[in-house]
Amino acid sequence: MIAEIGHFALILALAVALLQATLPLIGAQRGDPVWMGLSGPTSVAQMVLVTVSFAALTHAYVTSDFSVLNVAQNSHTDKPMLYKVAGVWGNHEGSLLLWITILAVFGCAVTAFGRNLPPGLKARALAVQAIITVGFLLFILFTSNPFERLDPAPMNGNGLNPLLQDPGLAFHPPMLYLGYVGFSMAFSFAIAALIEGRVDAAWARWVRPWTLAAWVFLTGGIVLGSWWAYYELGWGGWWYWDPVENASFMPWLAGTALLHSAVVVEKRDALKAWTIFLAITAFGLSLLGTFLVRSGVITSVHAFASDPTRGVFILALLVVAIGGSFTLFAFRAPNLKTGGLFSPVSREGALLLNNVLMATGAGTVLLGTLYPLFADALDLGKVSVGPPFFNSVFVPLMVPMVLAMAVGPLMSWKRGDLAGVLGRLKIAIGLSLVITAATWFLQGGSAGPWWAAGGMGLAAWLLLGTLVDLAERVRLFKAPLSDSLARAGRLPRSYWGMMLAHGGLALFIAGATASSAWKVEAVQSQKIGEAITVSGYTFTLKEVKDVPGANYLATEGIFEVTKDGKFFAEMRPAKRVYRQPPRPTTEAAIEGTFLGDVYAVIGDKDVVSGGYVTRLYFNPLVPWMWVGTLFMVLGGLTSLTDRRHRIGAPTRARAVAQAAKA
């Protein structure tokens, strides 16, 4: 019954979305305030209906209602509650439902927070959001209905893939989707602005916080996935340039570029057409990302062709959404009035350079991800595009970008002074050269990879450049300390946000470079009592025992780890075998230190020697990566709380005025 309510709510939501997609648009064209005003109530109704539907599916999972096909295929009574709930979005149908639920919530947020938006812009943006919703609802209702019944209902379900039964991965999809769908805000407002034919600072001021919020979620989602891969897959790697990873990385690159170009629109009234283009691209790549992963096209073109209804629907949706918006862009963008002038050497110029490199980076990842599909479809032969390709093409593109990142924030708007800025950065230049040389010396020259010293130097350059900017702004050592602190307190939060994000990226670069260059690994068959030393840490295997879990049996190895003869930690990596579906997973044991992670994995018993297969690692500076990305997310959040985004709320002023009267 509840499943049918969910299904019915989705159908009603489609009807409401059709209204919301048409009437406000017509109303805005005619200047009819009543029709435009319909966008508000319809977006609220939409949110309520889709939420009811999502709640119905969640209910089916929580109560393990196996008469619902989707639940029977993806759940099991033995699963802990967290993974029953996470199972809702751990499959194709449910994840699409989550997608539109988030979309509906965002639409409702426009209505709730957008009281002071120009009514035409708001009506059109909400109509565009509804058009997206219509496309997704049609897709769900006709090809991927999560509420399909199964008769007779099985006694129990098939269970969720054990690899996915992990807290990191339970929250990974919702975070990613909040990011993907968050870019729909920038997209809808971009399309609305194209229809209206104008983009101004007010537009950018509205779009920026939403883009920033989407960016924060997407960054968080990607990091969560990467972190999961790091501790769950048990190889000490954290990024594989896997098509599924790339699918989320492309919108991130485009979204990061959008974030920066929107600054130029808001502050300088320039780069408008480009910003609109990026808004469309960021969301287009989000759509592509969702579908690349969901359609199975990545595995093979043939898997995609074997289920033609879904495949064709997806292609049609992508063509209409992306093709349609770029066509509109081609017609309307030339009419966008250009605003403030700036010289190539200026803050705007630096941001534009960042944008070109970011966009090229996104294009490269797109090309590398889709090329095998095209080659296969066009009979050019089967090609693999793996990490070596991306490392040799993408990484060099990011080097000039990071070089410019330290310089950009010190430039003035309109016309900058490159020589002057480099002069102010001379300490940073000197120190990063010293760090580069020191790294080269410490790794024993050509004994380590040639790029490692460059990577560490680059990280140092970005971090020092960022700190020099901060020091100048607070007049550190030039004014009394109390004065500097007062200045620091007065800096806008959006500035602190940038500091944190740029500094975080510097830490990330250092961690990524070090862990790729100097990872130490030992794989062996280890007997109980045997000691193996990796990077100065001695791992003694004390005991191996079976530990039962909720729906699995774990084989746990207990290591005593010592460093320089002193006790360092007891580490307990495990290997789990799940009951339903019966499959093993590895649970690495990780002990973080300032200089890197001590990492241990235990495998099967070696029948020949009687020992256990163990993999022991020292992963240098990996914690820096996670801390760095955490800083990036915190930077985004700090910037979101900037005063700029809080002021200018007329409703609040009115409330205060009324309170004063009373």
Partner: protein, 154 residues
């Protein structure tokens, strides 16, 4: 959501413990290191996008052993790679070779970057001559809202 497809594929495959088995490893650490470097560039043919060094699949294990046997025999990296490619085709290389069918892949990023740079140069040249546009005058509706907002603030 990431690696879901990989995970789905793992369901089909039986997964024995963890990738590289100590029994496969070559006694000479120099040779083993070469084998690992080589293996990182070779695709596990039945996986989504893992190298043979990272994969649990039986096929990857077989290929790892082949690579190590060849290295132990004293073949160079290129000889080993050629042996594998002759059997499995270019698909096995994670870094696709530069040839006619992969021209777009390798040249594409540079074309994109060049196009971006040209576009930016064009933009600056046009901007150099064009006068900055005046903002459009307010429409009556906007005037009304501005007045309302100004009144609000008082």
């Amino acid at each position: 959501m990431r690696r879901f497809v990989l995970a789905a594929m793992l369901m089909v495959l039986s997964a024995p413990a963890i990738a590289v088995d100590p029994s496969e490893m070559l006694p000479d650490p120099k040779q083993e290191e070469r084998a690992q470097d080589l293996g990182k560039g070779l695709r596990c043919m039945v996986c989504q996008s893992e190298s043979i060094e990272d994969s649990n699949a039986d096929l990857a294990k077989d290929l790892r052993i082949i690579v190590r046997e060849r290295i132990a025999k004293g073949e160079t990296d290129d000889q080993v790679r050629k042996f594998v490619v002759d059997r499995y085709g270019d698909y096995v290389l994670l870094k696709p070779p530069f040839k006619a069918s992969t021209l777009i892949l390798w040249v594409g990023p540079f074309v994109l970057l060049l196009a971006g740079i040209v576009a930016v140069f064009g933009f600056y040249r046009r901007r150099g001559t064009a006068a900055p546009a005046q903002p459009a005058p307010l429409t009556p509706e906007e005037k009304r809202r501005l007045d309302a907002l100004l009144k609000d603030g008082q």
